[in-house]
C-alpha cells in the first residue's frame, strides 16, 4: 500500500498531496504526520493540496482535524495550493476550516510559517 511521503525541511514538515486520496490513505496520512511531528519535534506543518482536483467534506474534515491535532502538539499548520475550483466548492459545501491558516503556494506558506515561528 503506497503512502504519502512526509518530508522535513528545517523545523517544518512538508506534505504534498499529488494523488486522489481514498479515505483510508487520508487517515494514514494524518497518522504519519502526527508521528512525524512527535519524532522530529517539528514546529510547523505545511500541507500542499495543489496536486489534487477534489477536496470533499471527508478530506476537508481530515485536514482541519490534522491542523487541530498538530496544534495540540505545538505545531502550526499552513494549507497551501487551494485552487479556485476547490475554494469555491469547499465554501459551497459549507466546510470552513477555522483552525487552518492558508497561503497561496508552497513558497508563501513557507514564508508565513517561518515568520510565525521566529
Amino acid at each position: 500500500m503506497s503512502r504519502i511521503p512526509v518530508m522535513k525541511l528545517k523545523n517544518i514538515l512538508v506534505v504534498s498531496l499529488q494523488v486522489d486520496l481514498h479515505d483510508r490513505l487520508a487517515l494514514e496520512l494524518q497518522d504519519d504526520v502526527l508521528r512525524g511531528l512527535s519524532r522530529t519535534g517539528a514546529r510547523g506543518l505545511l500541507i500542499d493540496v495543489s496536486g489534487i482536483d477534489v477536496v470533499d467534506s471527508f478530506l476537508g474534515r481530515i485536514l482541519g482535524e490534522t491542523a487541530r491535532m498538530a496544534g495540540l502538539m505545538g505545531a502550526r499548520t499552513v494549507l497551501v495550493g487551494v485552487s479556485p475550483a476547490v475554494a469555491i466548492t469547499l465554501v459551497e459545501l459549507g466546510l470552513s476550516l477555522p483552525d487552518v491558516k492558508t497561503a497561496l503556494n508552497l513558497e508563501k506558506g513557507l514564508d508565513l510559517l517561518e515568520s510565525s515561528l521566529q
Binding site: D53, V54, S57, A85, E92
Partner: protein
C-alpha cells in the same frame, strides 16, 4: 458541440469506488464541455453521495448520464441504495441532522453544488438521490 455520452453505471461498495466514481464524473463533465469549477462541483457531489451510500447502506450504485431538456444539456447523477433509509428527510436536507460519522454536510452541501436535487427515502426503503448540473 460535444458528442453524445453513454451513461455510466458504477457500483459503490468500497472506498476505492468513491474515487473511481468521482473520477468518472469529472471525466464525463469535462467531455461534455463543463468548465473546471463545474467539473469540481460535480466530482465533489458524486464523492459525497458515494460516501453516504458506503456509510449508511454499505453498497449501492451511481449512474451518470448526459440529459437533454428543452435543448439544454446537463449531467444527471442518480445515486441509489437499499439501505436503512432516512427517517427525517427534512432535517437531513437542512443540515440540522448531525450524524456521528460525518458533519452532516454531505446532503445539504451536494444540494448547493447542483442545480437540481431530489431526495426520496423512507425508513427501511432505501435512498434515492437524483441531481442535475446544467451546462
Amino acid at each position: 458541440m460535444n458528442g453524445p455520452r453513454k451513461p455510466v453505471a458504477l457500483n459503490i461498495q468500497s472506498e476505492t469506488d468513491i474515487v473511481l466514481a468521482r473520477t468518472a464524473g469529472k471525466e464525463m463533465a469535462q467531455a461534455m464541455g463543463f468548465g473546471l469549477v463545474d467539473q469540481t462541483r460535480i466530482a465533489t457531489g458524486i464523492s459525497e453521495l458515494a460516501r453516504n451510500i458506503l456509510q449508511y447502506a454499505r453498497r449501492g450504485h451511481i449512474r451518470l448520464e448526459a440529459v437533454n431538456r428543452n435543448g439544454r444539456q446537463g449531467l444527471e447523477i442518480l445515486a441509489e441504495d437499499n439501505g436503512p433509509g432516512i427517517a427525517n428527510v427534512r432535517s437531513v436536507l437542512e443540515g440540522s441532522h448531525h450524524s456521528h460519522k460525518g458533519l452532516g454536510l454531505g446532503i445539504p452541501g451536494t444540494r448547493r453544488l447542483m442545480d437540481e436535487f431530489d431526495l426520496a427515502s423512507e425508513p427501511g426503503g432505501g435512498t434515492r438521490v437524483r441531481c442535475v448540473k446544467w451546462l
